[in-house]
């Protein structure tokens, strides 16, 4: 079966104020309900909208980043329907003259997922349903959104997830949104249909709503593909409908609402005037453009010889990617640096629950530390220990190493290993006779000598090698 998927993604913009009023756009759990509200965003009689320019700039930025064609004249229109979270009973959105048309996001495979359009609109309030009643909080009402609609170019759940990841990374790179699905600053509805392989005409599409994480995007689409495929195999028909993803059951369910007339009666909002987007404005906004995630990914592989996996992890977080490049600029060794960042730093960050960008670790300290390691002046174990410490304190690794005498002798551990084996020839003999447990004795000796600064794993490896040679010469 061929799978055809199109996405409608809502990205919430990180502005200070709402799209049409001067209320704070913050609405997180810490903000008490209905405090960031005013006559405009609660639809009081007589109130009028005034458009926030930042929203336009952010919208243009995303349109530029996705190579969309920005319309010269754009307008806002009213989308009319009744719902308790919609204070004016219409949403100010765009319809016939949206911000941009076309454009695309390129996947790692090189496949381009084309965009239908990008438009600006206002968010609705939040509803809480409790025992037959609905509670409404309008803090979110009027928070700016960009809606990104793709063409039906996506052909698997994996592609859908990759598209969303890239879109999220793009809006984060541009600094226009948190792009957080769990927090609702990135929301996704999916249209999906299946058809027999090679068939030209599209199958009946189903809209899936209420998908709140990347994991669920994949699961919801997989479930739906299976459901539709099964239906068709059994000679049944897919019904065009809207289905909700049920997180706990991992399935999509028909909304089964009574057939309510849907006719949004879009018309140009007479309270707002048209916006002309001229070249000057576009040039001004263009200054905010940055290298896109996919470009960075390709460059990291090409210029630094990183594996696809490493490059992918680094590009997924702009801060991490920049951290990587700054470190490499100081000490080279891109592969090793990438390894330390993607393995050790990721581990420490998870263990401490502190993200790299919130930690005390700066690229200067990090490269100084790795420098000590690469020069062999400290062991891997010391480096790891220090990294965790500096991550929390921001101390200078050179100072710590000197003050606390953590350097290992010139030439590394080898002379020490040699010395210990020479000093304990009896134990060496017993080891060679088969008493291999003695390896921990040797390691213990070495650890004592180095006051615990040496890496036991490294020591074990070295002792094993030396002993192997020693035993051979004994035979």
């Amino acid at each position: 079966m061929d799978v055809v998927i199109g996405l409608e993604v809502h990205v919430q913009l990180k502005t200070k104020s709402k799209i049409f009023c001067t209320c704070s756009a913050e609405y997180t759990k810490d903000v008490p309900p209905n405090t960031h509200i005013c006559e405009v965003c609660t639809g009081q009689p007589g109130a009028l909208p005034v458009f926030n320019k930042k929203v336009l700039e952010y919208g243009i930025l995303l349109a530029l980043a996705t190579r969309g064609k920005i319309n010269a004249v754009i307008r806002f229109e009213r989308k009319n329907y009744f719902y308790p979270d919609l204070p004016k009973s219409y949403q100010i959105s765009q319809y016939r003259a949206p911000l941009s048309l076309g454009g695309y996001i390129e996947l790692k495979s090189g496949k381009k997922i084309r965009l239908e359009r990008i438009h600006m609109e206002e968010d609705a309030g939040k509803l809480i349903h409790v025992a037959g009643e609905t509670f409404i909080d309008f803090n979110r009402a009027g928070v700016p959104l960009l809606e990104i609609v793709t063409k039906p170019d996506i052909s698997s759940p994996e592609e859908a997830v990759e598209f969303l990841m890239l879109l999220r990374e793009t809006v984060r790179y541009l600094g226009i949104s948190d792009g957080d699905m769990e927090e609702g600053s990135l929301r996704c509805d999916a249209n999906i249909s299946v058809k027999p392989e090679g068939q030209k005409e599209l199958g009946t599409k189903v809209e899936i709503k209420n998908i709140n994480s990347f994991k669920f995007v994949k699961r919801a689409l997989e479930f739906e593909i299976e459901r539709q495929t099964e239906l068709l195999r059994e000679g049944g028909k897919v019904v065009q409908e809207t289905r909700l993803f049920n997180e706990s059951k991992g399935i999509t369910e028909s909304m089964r609402t009574k057939e309510e007339a849907h006719d949004y009666r879009y018309f140009p909002d007479p309270d707002l005037v048209p916006i002309e987007i001229n070249e000057d404005l576009i040039e001004e906004v263009k200054k905010g453009l940055v290298e896109l995630p996919i470009e960075k990914y390709r460059r990291f592989i090409r210029d630094y010889g990183l594996t696809e996996e490493r490059a992918n992890i680094l590009k997924s977080d702009l801060y991490l990617a920049n951290f990587f490049e700054e470190t490499v600029k100081k000490i080279g060794q891109p592969e090793k640096v990438a390894n330390w960042l993607t393995v050790e730093i990721t581990g420490i960050s998870r263990e401490l629950g502190i993200e790299l960008k919130d930690s005390k670790l700066a690229p200067e300290r990090f490269s100084a530390l790795l420098g000590l390691l690469f020069e062999g002046r400290i062991s891997r174990a010391v480096a790891k220990k220090l990294l965790k410490r500096i991550y929390e304190t921001g101390e200078d690794p050179l100072e710590i190493v000197e003050k606390e005498g953590l350097t290992q002798s010139e030439g590394g551990l080898e002379p020490l290993v040699q010395k210990i084996l020479e000093a304990h020839s009896e134990q060496v003999r017993q080891y060679c006779k088969g008493k291999e447990k003695l390896i921990s004795f040797f390691i213990g000796q070495a650890m004592r000598e180095t006051r615990g600064t040496a890496d036991p794993v490294e020591l074990k490896k070295m002792f094993e090698e030396k002993l192997k040679d020693a035993c051979k010469s004994m035979d």
Partner: protein, 478 residues
Amino acid sequence: MKIEDFSIFEFSYLVKKRQIRPSIIVEHYLKNIEEKNDELNAFISINENVLDEAKELDARLDRGEELPVYAGIPLAIKDNINIDGMETTCASEILRGYKATYDATVIKKLREKGFLFIGKTNLDEFAMGSSTEFSAFGPSRNPYNPEYVTGGSSGGSAAAVAAKMAQAALGSDTGGSIRLPASFCGVYGLKPTYGRVSRFGLVAYASSLDQIGPLARNVEDIAILLSIIAGWDSKDSTTSNMPVSDYFEYVFENRKKEEYRIALPEEYWGEGLDEKVREPLEEFIGFLKMNRFKVERVSLPHTRYAIPAYYIIATAEASSNLGRFDGVRYGRRKMGRNFREMIENTRGEFFGEEVKRRILLGTFALSTGYYEDYYLKAQKARTLIINDFKNIFREFDFVLAPTSPTLPFKIGEKIDDPLKMYLSDIYTVSPNLAGLPALNIPVGTSDGLPVGIQLIGNYFSENRMLKFAYFVEKEYRR
């Protein structure tokens, strides 16, 4: 001379010179309200604090304080304009008890100049009507004869001004709602250029047509009020940033007699104009000719499409603007088993018949399959109507037309025939569609009922219109 015969400017002078106390002015108007409002039903609510506010101004004068220039002069405000803390009902059951949470921009500006607000005036529910009969608070009655309507929708404001229950008033005009009642009640009423006055705080009926404007017994007061309420507003994206003239100064300081080129569009003066209205108006035209103004017949060929275009656009915008009255955040609520039932019950029960009719018509005009045939066509026809006027204003200063095709009609006469009622606006809707300023000038009476003429000017030509009106006010006696 009675207190009510003074103008705003004269009061300002007298108060400043301590020759009259604000409380005396307010008490006088309150007395008129007490005597006449029961019969005329011009006010929906009276500001109970207004006398205290005036006395506070007295006290400040006694302490030798400098007061704002128009301190203590009481205005009546149409009850679809928000005054913070006072009820705004829009003459609708659905808003009964609703307390406005902020001042409209016009109110804020007038307040800063010292004006007081004596009460909120009656209107057709949500300003939808031409007679002020469609009010949840009952019809207003014409001060000239209480059997007759005031015209609408700002009928309460027009009656309050005509019956001297306030110094002047604010109304709103979407398709004639200031000019028609001004004409029926024999007062001046101005609909400014679209975007000249902020709509922030005016409960929207049709956003692309609505304008707030003054109603008064003399041109001076209109000029002063317009000078104050006009201007760009950061809270209304559709206001113009064109500089505001000092209309008062333009009209009264510069004494030079101006020449006017006046167009009489044949579509406004043909069949359908009641002879009782025609007669005094033609007499007035004679006066203009005597003054050697250029007066010529012209044609505005798309006039016949103005009423259908207007009712399509106005109802379409209204259907969306009035969606917010759903019983969720404010206003009255009629319960139902769920949200959908609740809002359908609320809107079915508490909107009046005319409002429901217009919302349904507007919903129709915007719905799938009809948008292109009705809403879009109406907006295109509007372009043709605008072009008609643009052509005329290349050669003329003003267009002169009747304000109403008939004399004031009797209460109840047209209430059951919506189409007939809609045709009352036949001469007033075009300036709204084009966004042009238009002023009703009272020019006489027929059968004891007032007749007005409508002066339509080019965009932002209010200064010249008022100067013309002032000339008429001083020179024309029928």
